[in-house]
C-alpha cells in the first residue's frame, strides 16, 4: 500500500517531467543559430537545395507546428527520424543505449562490490594501513581524469601486454549475438554462444574498470564516513555492551544504517556513469549513447538530441523512484512515516 503511494504520484510526475524536458530541449535546440539542413545538404548547397532539404525534413514549417507534430508523435511513442542517419531515433537509441547500460551496470557492480567492503574496512581500521591504501585509491579515483586513466590502461593491457582488447564490444570475426536485450553478456548466454560471451567479457574489463574506478573513490569515502558516524552511536555501544559478536554489530547494525546515505549517492552515480561514459566510450570505441549524443549535438540533429533527453529524463525519474523505494527497505522509519 505504502509503496503504491510512492509509485503512483511518481508516474504522474514522470509525464510532466518528460513534457517539460521536451519543451525546454526543443526551445534550446531551436534557439541555437544554425541550420541542420546546411549540415545535411552541405555547406555550399544552393538556396534551392537547402529549401528542398528543409521541406523534406519538415523544417520549413513554423516552429510551433514542428513542436506540435513532435509532441503528438511523442505521445504515440514515435521519437522521430534522425536528420543525420535517416534512421528512426527510437531504433538508434535501442541500438546504442544497451551498450552504455551494460557498461554502466558492470562498472556500478564493480564499484559497489569493491567500494563497500573497502569503505567498511577503512572505517574499522581507521588510520591503519588498509585505511591509508583505501584513501590513496579514493583520491586517485576521484581526481584522476577518466580520459587519461583510460589511455593508460589501453597502453598497458592492450598495447604492451597484449592481454586485453583496446576497443569495441566484441572481437572482429566473432558474429554479434542475436539481439534480444542488446546486452551482449545476456544475449550471448541466451544463445549459448560462449565465444561471444567471453569476447564481450574481455572487452568490458578495461572500460568498466575505468568507469568503476571514478565511482569507487566516492563510494569508499562515503561508506567510511557514515560507518565512522554510526559506530559512535549509542545503539552500537549498547549492542557491544550486550555482548553481540563484532561481525554481527558491524554488518547487521552499523552497515545497514551507514548504507542509507550511500543509496542517494548510488542514484547520483548512475548519472555520473552516463557522463563518464562519453569519454570512456570515445577512448574504447564503445558504440554507446555517448558518441551518438555528441555527434548529434554537433550536427544539430534535433530529433536525436530530443529523443536522448526524453529517454534520459525518464531514466532519471525511474532511478529516483528506485532510490526512494530502496530507502524504504533500508530505513524502517521512512516505511512507517511514508
Amino acid at each position: 500500500m505504502t509503496i503504491m503511494r510512492i509509485i503512483i504520484p511518481r508516474f504522474v510526475m514522470l509525464f510532466f517531467v518528460v513534457f517539460g524536458v521536451a519543451v525546454i530541449t526543443f526551445i534550446i535546440s531551436h534557439l541555437i543559430p544554425g541550420d541542420p539542413a546546411r549540415m545535411i545538404a552541405g555547406d555550399r548547397a544552393s538556396a534551392e537545395t537547402l529549401m528542398s532539404v528543409r521541406r523534406d525534413l519538415g523544417l520549413d514549417r513554423p516552429v510551433w507546428d514542428q513542436f506540435a507534430i513532435y509532441v503528438s508523435n511523442l505521445l504515440h511513442g514515435d521519437l522521430g527520424t534522425s536528420l543525420r542517419t535517416r534512421r528512426s531515433v527510437a531504433g538508434d537509441i535501442a541500438t546504442f543505449l544497451p551498450a552504455t547500460m551494460e557498461l554502466g551496470a558492470i562498472s556500478l557492480i564493480l564499484s559497489i562490490v569493491i567500494g563497500i567492503p573497502l569503505g567498511v574496512a577503512s572505517a574499522i581500521y581507521k588510520d591503519g594501513p588498509i585505511d591509508q591504501v583505501a584513501r590513496t585509491i579514493s583520491v586517485c579515483g576521484i581526481s584522476m581524469p577518466v580520459f587519461w586513466f583510460a589511455l593508460v590502461l589501453v597502453l598497458l593491457f592492450y598495447a604492451k601486454l597484449h592481454i586485453l582488447p583496446g576497443s569495441g564490444r566484441i572481437d572482429m570475426g566473432i558474429a554479434l549475438p542475436t539481439r534480444i536485450t542488446g546486452f551482449f553478456l545476456i544475449d550471448s548466454l541466451l544463445e549459448g554462444r560462449m565465444d561471444a560471451f567471453w569476447s564481450s567479457v574481455r572487452h568490458l574489463i578495461l572500460p568498466s574498470a575505468v568507469l568503476a574506478f571514478a565511482n569507487l573513490g566516492v563510494i569508499t569515502r562515503q561508506i567510511r564516513a557514515s560507518m565512522l558516524d554510526v559506530l559512535q552511536e549509542d545503539y552500537i555501544r549498547t549492542a557491544r555492551a550486550s555482548g553481540l559478536r563484532r561481525r554481527v554489530i558491524i554488518f547487521n547494525h552499523a552497515l545497514r544504517n551507514a548504507l542509507i546515505p550511500s543509496i542517494t549517492l548510488l542514484g547520483l552515480a548512475l548519472g555520473d556513469l552516463l557522463y563518464g561514459a562519453v569519454l570512456t566510450e570515445t577512448v574504447f570505441a564503445w558504440p554507446g549513447m555517448g558518441t551518438y549524443v555528441v555527434t548529434s549535438i554537433q550536427t544539430l540533429d534535433f530529433p536525436a538530441i530530443m529523443g536522448f533527453t526524453v529517454v534520459a529524463s525518464i531514466g532519471y525519474v525511474l532511478i529516483n523512484l528506485i532510490v526512494d523505494i530502496a530507502y524504504m527497505f533500508a530505513d524502517p522509519q521512512i516505511r512507517e512515516i511514508g
Partner: protein, 513 residues
C-alpha cells in the same frame, strides 16, 4: 581450489585473446579505423568523404579519375561525344558491367540514377546545376540534355553523386522515399565491393561483388571501424589490428614515422584553409585594409609551427595540383612595414575585429591565435570567438562576422569549384562567396570561363581573374594542406588521388608480408 578455478579462467581468457588476434592478421582482409561513422552510403544524399569511401567501393560511374590525376577516363561509358551547342552529351556504355545481383548496367539504370538524384534534390544534386533531362536512346546509349553550356560537365560525371545505382532498389522504397532509408546502409552498384553489414558506430563490412566486371580484387573483405580516439587508432595500427588509420594529426604522424612497419602517407591535397574577410563590413570593405592583413601574416610560421610543414602557403585561389593554378602568381609575403603603410594610406586606425571559428578543423584555433599576435603588430586588435560549427556556418552564410576561417575542397576536378564559387556575386553567402566579394570584372571573367568548353581559353580567363582577385584580397589565403593517413607497410598498391580524399582503390590494393 577456488583459486585454481580463477587461474583456469584467466588462462582461458588469454588463450581466446591470442586466438582472435591471429585470426585477424588474414592477408585478404583489410581493416581501416577512422574517427567517425559515415552518415550514409547513399550517392543521392551523401556529401561527406567518410560516405564516399563506400560509394566509390560499391558503385561505378560513367567516367572515373585516371590514376592520380584529375583527368577522367572511361569506366561504365566506353566513349562519349558532345554536339555543337555543347549541351547534348551522348555516352556509349561498355559491355559486361553488372550490378551486385547480376543485372546488367544499362542506359535505363543511368537515367534512373540521375532522375533519383535530381528528385531527391539533396546536396549531391548541386553538382548538376544545368541538367535538364537524361534520355535512354537504346540500352547501350544514354543522352544528357543540358539547359545551357556547362564546362565542367564531364568531370561532374565522376563525382560521388553520379554513381550508377541498380533501379531494382526501388523494391525497397518506403513511403515514396526513393529507397533512401535502405540505401543509407546498403549498396546496389556495379563496383568491386558491396556492403554486407553496417553496425552503427562500430563497423561496416564490405565483401567482394561476385559480378564485378574488373579482375577479382586481392582483398576479400574490407572492414571499416569507428574508433573515435586517435591514440586508440594509433595503437591498433602499431599492434596490427588496423591496416589503415585516418585522421592522423601532424604530431602523431611525426611520432609514427620512426616505425619501420608503418608508412605515413602525406600527400599534397586540394584541401585549402583560408580566412573569409567580410568585404561588406567596414573597415574590411577597403581593399587596402584586407591587403594590410594579408601582409601582416607570418605564413611560414603557420605552416611550420601549426602544420609542422605538412602544408604549403596558397598562391592564388586555385590550388597547386588543379589546372589553372598559377605557379608564378602573386603571393602575399610577411611584410609588417608594408602592412602598416597600407593601413596608414587607408587612414584607418584603432581597428577592432573578431575572428569567429569552430573546432571543425583543428588548425582553426591555433591559426586564430597566430593571427591575433600578427595583427597586433600592425595595431589591429583581434578577438577570438569560438562557436559551434553549425553556428559558425550560419554566421558565415549570413555575413554576420568579420573574419572567419574556412576549409574548401573541390567536388569535381575543375577550377570552377574555386573561381566561380568564391568570386561570383550570385553565390554570396553559404554557396561559396563567403567574403561577399563583388568585382564585376572578375565576375564577368569567371562566368565566361564557365560558359565555354575550350580549356586553354578557360585557363586564360581563370588566370586573369585570379590575378585581379588576389590584388583585391577578398580572402586571406593561408595554406594548402597535405592529406595525412597512416598504413601498415604490408598494405600495397594504394594510389592517391587528390579528388578522392578518404577514398581507396581497394580493388587494386593488397596486403603482403
Amino acid at each position: 581450489m577456488v583459486f585454481a578455478h580463477w587461474k583456469k579462467l584467466g588462462l582461458a581468457l588469454l588463450v581466446t585473446s591470442s586466438l582472435t588476434q591471429t585470426a585477424w592478421a588474414a592477408s585478404d582482409v583489410l581493416v581501416l579505423s577512422r574517427a567517425e561513422d559515415a552518415p550514409t552510403a547513399d550517392p543521392g544524399v551523401e556529401i561527406s568523404n567518410s560516405g564516399y569511401t563506400f560509394i566509390y567501393a560499391a558503385y561505378e560511374h560513367l567516367v572515373a579519375y585516371k590514376g592520380a590525376t584529375t583527368e577522367v577516363v572511361p569506366e561504365l561509358a566506353e566513349s562519349w561525344s558532345v554536339d555543337d551547342t555543347n549541351t547534348v552529351w551522348t555516352f556509349k556504355l561498355a559491355q559486361g558491367h553488372k550490378f551486385d545481383d547480376g543485372t546488367p548496367v544499362d542506359a535505363a539504370a543511368v537515367k534512373f540514377s540521375f532522375d533519383r538524384a535530381m528528385k531527391l534534390k539533396a546536396g549531391p544534386s548541386d553538382a548538376f546545376p544545368v541538367l535538364k533531362e537524361v534520355q535512354v536512346v537504346d540500352p547501350g546509349t544514354v543522352k544528357f540534355i543540358l539547359s545551357s553550356q556547362f564546362a565542367p560537365f564531364l568531370s561532374t560525371m565522376a563525382v560521388s553523386g553520379a554513381a550508377i545505382i541498380n533501379p531494382k532498389v526501388m523494391e525497397h522504397e518506403k513511403d515514396g522515399d526513393m529507397a533512401k532509408a535502405w540505401l543509407a546502409e546498403h549498396t546496389a552498384g556495379s563496383g568491386a565491393y558491396k556492403i554486407t553489414s553496417w553496425e552503427r558506430n562500430q563497423s561496416v563490412v564490405l565483401d567482394r561483388n561476385e559480378h564485378y566486371a574488373g579482375s577479382t580484387p586481392a582483398l576479400k573483405q574490407i572492414v571499416v571501424r569507428t574508433v573515435g580516439e586517435i591514440s586508440a587508432r594509433r595503437l591498433q595500427l602499431v599492434n596490427g589490428d588496423a591496416d589503415i588509420i585516418e585522421q592522423v594529426p601532424v604530431d602523431q604522424a611525426a611520432a609514427l614515422k620512426g616505425d619501420p612497419n608503418i608508412v605515413v602517407e602525406s600527400n599534397p591535397s586540394l584541401y585549402v584553409n583560408y580566412v573569409y574577410m567580410n568585404n561588406k563590413r567596414p573597415p574590411l570593405d577597403d581593399a587596402r585594409v584586407r591587403q594590410a592583413i594579408s601582409y601582416a601574416v607570418d605564413y611560414k610560421g603557420i605552416v611550420d609551427g601549426i602544420m609542422q610543414g605538412q602544408a604549403e602557403q596558397m598562391r592564388g585561389a586555385v590550388p597547386d595540383g588543379m589546372w589553372a593554378h598559377d605557379p608564378n602568381g602573386f603571393q602575399y609575403s610577411y611584410d609588417v612595414e608594408k602592412a602598416k603603410a597600407l593601413l596608414k594610406e587607408a587612414g584607418k586606425s584603432d581597428i577592432h575585429l573578431t575572428y569567429t571559428f569552430s573546432q571543425a578543423d583543428t588548425a582553426w584555433e591555433p591559426v586564430g591565435l597566430a593571427l591575433q599576435a600578427n595583427l597586433a603588430d600592425i595595431g589591429i586588435k583581434l578577438d577570438l570567438q569560438a562557436v559551434a560549427d553549425t553556428t559558425k556556418r550560419e554566421m558565415a552564410a549570413s555575413g554576420n562576422y568579420d573574419l572567419a576561417p574556412g576549409a574548401w575542397t573541390p567536388d569535381f576536378a575543375d577550377p570552377y569549384m574555386f573561381m566561380n564559387y568564391w568570386f561570383d556575386p550570385d553565390r554570396m553567402g553559404g554557396p561559396g562567396n563567403r567574403a561577399f566579394y563583388n568585382n564585376p570584372k572578375v565576375a564577368g571573367l569567371v562566368r565566361e570561363a564557365a560558359s565555354i568548353i575550350d580549356q586553354p581559353k578557360r585557363e586564360q580567363l581563370y588566370l586573369e581573374a585570379q590575378k585581379l582577385s588576389t590584388q583585391d584580397a577578398p580572402y586571406l589565403y593561408l595554406m594548402q594542406k597535405n592529406d595525412i593517413f597512416a598504413r601498415r607497410a604490408v598494405v600495397k598498391g594504394y594510389v592517391y588521388n587528390p579528388m578522392l580524399i578518404q577514398v581507396y582503390n581497394f580493388a587494386t590494393m593488397s596486403k603482403s608480408e
